[in-house]
């Protein structure tokens, strides 16, 4: 008993303090660092850069192409309307400033200065001029963390838009880690060449299909077990200052269940069979 008391007199305070520190750290971890994200966002607020609109509009050719695209989209919309093809209305993006990068070097993240208060949800899609950037993986009241396309853990289903060759991309390490990713194809014989555009595929559950990802930089057909290509991402991930966040509406994955009694079903009975 005396020894316990002596021990307590010597180490009691230290043990209590250590316990308190561990407890607080555990609580912070349990809340997924929401407090830390909030306070970081608060500190970084004065350092937001204002969106540089002039630089984005400088390129006259890009503007011309954009106008043509709008024109084509409008025509397409009219044709779709004529055909009775309905599509979900595209929602407006939430502009969000980039205020930080990952707090560790094993993951590739962005910290954005917009959160739940501004309508950001988990798994929202983050875009920038140029294409997809990533997906919201953590969100607090006024900040959010984005898992980038170039993250080595993140695999995203993509397709080559010219030939519809499908595969997935994964991040790579090295000095070009932020700007290039590796695409692995599902098939052995694929038709792909340098310069082909790569978009997100319909197989991907993480992203809606058809979003621009990048361009094929080089192809290695001899790679085992399946060919590989190096994709140059079109979004300038390493130099991003502003992004746009769009809510992700996952496609309906409900399977069509077969009718147990097809004979009684109304669709199958043709008018000729009726008495």
């Amino acid at each position: 008993m005396l020894s316990v008391r002596r021990w307590w007199e010597r180490f009691g305070t230290t043990t209590l303090w250590t316990g308190a520190a561990v407890g607080i750290a555990l609580i912070i971890r349990h809340t997924q660092g929401g407090f830390l994200l909030e306070s970081y966002q608060l500190i970084a607020r004065p350092f937001y850069s204002s969106p540089d609109r002039t630089a984005q509009l400088e390129n006259a050719q890009a503007q011309e192409l954009q106008q043509r695209l709008i024109d084509l989209q409008n025509k397409n919309q009219k044709l779709e309307d004529l055909l009775g093809f309905t599509q979900a209305q595209k929602s407006k993006g939430i502009p969000a400033p980039v205020i930080g990068r990952s707090a560790d070097h094993w993951w590739s993240n962005l910290v954005l200065g917009r959160g739940k208060k501004d309508g950001v949800e988990l798994n929202s899609i983050v875009m920038s001029p140029g294409g997809v950037v990533g997906r919201v993986s953590k969100v607090s009241d006024s900040g959010s963390v984005v898992t980038l396309l170039s993250d080595a853990f993140n695999q995203v289903g993509v397709t080559v838009s010219r030939t519809r060759a499908t595969g997935f991309i994964k991040g790579q390490s090295g000095d070009k880690a932020g700007s290039q990713v590796i695409m692995e194809f599902f098939d052995k014989n694929v038709d792909v060449r340098r310069g082909d555009t790569v978009v997100t595929s319909a197989f991907s559950k993480k992203f809606p299909s058809g979003l621009p990802v990048g361009r094929v930089e080089s192809v290695d057909m001899g790679k085992s077990p399946s060919p590989e290509a190096v994709i140059q991402l079109t979004a300038p991930i390493a130099a991003l200052e502003w992004t746009a966040i769009y809510p992700h509406l996952p496609p309906q994955t409900e399977d069509l269940t077969p009718d147990p009694e097809p004979r009684n079903s109304k669709i199958l009975t043709s008018p000729a069979e009726k008495p």
Binding site: T14, T18, A21, V22, I24, A25, L26, I28, R29, T31, Q32, G33, L36, S39, Y40, I43, I99, G100, R101, S102, A103, D104, H105, W106, W107, N109, V111, A152, F153, Q172, S173, G174, D175, A177, G178, A238
Partner: protein, 188 residues
């Protein structure tokens, strides 16, 4: 002109060891918080190939440098939990930072290492490599990345992080060391 009241006040702040201890504790917690807030930044001149210094690792090294094994390891545990909160929980940073705390506090036993800036720099360099290696081992055991990818990535980040952390370590070491001396927070 003299300010007797001011001088007296400063003296009363300076003299009671209790207040010094409390103030030292608050400032120590603040320093951890500043390190946490520095983690997601990539200020110009502070990053190498998109990789910044590992501020929490620097803090653990400085804390453990003149403390017991247990103190070093508990600092590693607390800061590991906090870094988990900032990133992902799996694999955890607890093991790497605890191991760093353990190794650094064991170094003091050999008396050939005397504290100064150069020694802190060297120790931080080594510990950054050790810390990233522990992380790489954890990733290898998880098995959701290929071994080639992990160890190629490890090579890059261990070196960049070690260089940057060791160069920035003295910046953190000097104020913290002064603070702990002044406030008499249990020190070896």
């Amino acid at each position: 002109m003299q300010f007797p009241g001011m001088t007296q006040m400063l003296q009363t702040v300076k003299t009671p060891p209790k207040i010094r201890l409390i103030l030292g504790g608050v400032l120590t917690v603040m320093s951890v918080w500043i390190c946490l807030m520095l983690l997601p930044t990539r200020l110009p001149g502070m990053a190498l190939a998109g990789i910044g210094p590992n501020w929490l690792l620097i803090w653990v090294v400085i804390w453990s440098f003149k403390r017991s094994v247990w103190q070093g390891m508990s600092a590693g545990l607390v800061l590991g939990l906090l870094q988990d909160a900032m990133t992902e929980e799996n694999p955890t940073h607890i093991f790497s930072l605890m191991f760093v705390g353990y190794l650094t506090s064991r170094l003091q036993k050999q008396r050939f290492l005397r504290e100064n800036f150069i020694v802190i720099t060297l120790v931080t360099f080594g510990m950054a490599v050790v810390g990233e290696t522990v992380m790489a081992l954890q990733f290898s055991s998880l098995g959701n990345r290929t071994l080639i990818d992990i160890w190629k990535h490890h090579q890059l980040i261990a070196l960049s992080s070690a260089i940057l952390s060791s160069l920035w370590a003295p910046v953190l070491y000097f104020p913290l060391n002064q603070l702990w001396k002044w406030s008499a927070i249990p020190h070896d």
